[in-house]
Assembly symmetry: C2
Homo-oligomer: 231 residues x 2
């Protein structure tokens, strides 16, 4: 199809399509004349993936490029795709070694958790630093209840990871598995955050027998002008 048709079908502007080609995210169309190129279903499929990573995964263009490169590598082992996908969405988080030199309360709690559960995890796993940092924040904020409940959160995480890997294992070949790792890792955080909010409301209603009130758009954005001048 023509670029204008690809744009209409995908909802992505012609300028954006050209930008993705220039940045190496999307293959160029097949040139059929001096002024015209043609695009196939694989272009449309790739555009959907690019938009999902950017719009829902919240990735930057350069992070998207790194993730797509991991999918595309013909000899990329699955283990490397996992690492690349996890890193792409954790790049703003500190590495384990940066978190209080690895000796904070949170870092110790994660190490204990990993040993207690018999998990095999490398220290470069970005989750290690993330969890250590969150546990440190809970402790600093006096929220010791969450630290004590860590094994119940770990139970849930094991269930999530087992489902993630089941989805990956159902794909026909390594390239498809790599794509599923990337999409599942990046969209999966949003899925779990959403399901958690739904389940929180249900459990809160069950325990406290009261409805959860959601802000209306008006209440949500109102600011009290007496609270301080803008600066």
């Amino acid at each position: 199809v023509k670029i204008s048709e690809l744009s209409t079908a995908s909802g992505v502007s012609i300028a954006s399509i050209k930008f993705y080609v220039r940045e190496g995210l999307l293959d160029a169309g097949e040139r059929v004349s001096a002024t015209r190129s043609t695009y196939s279903d694989s272009h449309a499929q790739r555009l959907r993936l690019i938009r999902a990573l950017i719009d829902i995964g919240g990735l930057s263009v350069s992070a998207t490029k790194a993730v797509l490169a991991a999918i595309d590598g013909p000899d990329t082992p699955l283990s490397w795709v996992f690492g690349a996908a996890q890193y792409a969405i954790s790049s703003d988080l500190p590495r384990a070694a940066d978190v209080h030199g690895g000796h904070s309360l949170g870092a110790t709690a994660v190490a204990d958790l990993v040993e207690r559960r018999g998990w095999t995890v490398s220290n470069e796993n970005p989750g290690v630093a993330t969890v250590a940092r969150v546990l440190d924040s809970y402790a600093e904020l006096g929220q010791h209840e969450f630290v004590a409940l860590i094994d119940r959160y770990a139970d849930a995480a094991e269930g999530v990871a087992a489902a993630d890997l089941d989805a990956v294992g159902q794909r026909p070949d390594l390239e498809a598995m790599a794509e599923t790792v990337v999409i599942g890792t990046i969209l999966g955080d949003a899925l779990m955050a959403g399901l958690r909010r739904i389940a929180q409301e249900h459990v809160a209603r069950t325990l406290y027998d009261s409805a959860v009130d959601y802000p209306t758009p008006t209440r949500r954005t109102q600011e009290d002008p007496s609270e301080g001048e803008e600066s």
Copy 2:
């Protein structure tokens, strides 16, 4: 203590402390002379909460202000704090009604899920729209495996929400419960994302008997200069 001491103890600059006071996030210090105010432990505690919401929760200053207002309201019911906290970190997500008019494949799948599990959930719950949108993306990307596994993710989310509410229930009074709702909702997403990455590596190693390779900082940031010029 003096503002300079509060700054040193908290690691927050004097300029930022003054900004938070001006914006109404932090109470002003008690004025002890024409040029000097004094700050207490409650200021230090509040500063830790503000920094956690901004640094780890990724909230904007105005979203932080809205969440703090929900905690501070003396008559704020717990149900309203829940809603406010959930909304503050979901404000960039569409509401349920915006997602394909509520009639997409994903929206139908969420409605079916909620009914199948006997969950009591209002349609304004931001999780409903989030989950619908992620499921729509999975379907558009041909990742039907994830949609078929939704109940296993829902099992995990129920476990997470039950632990969340247990933590809230252990707090001594409504104000402390409200604070725990906010902190737990906002930091809990990061906690679960981190635990999921750790558990993914463990499960991947168990299933495929191979290590997960993480990018070194060098590999992580390298770009292939042959892939296209910058624009």
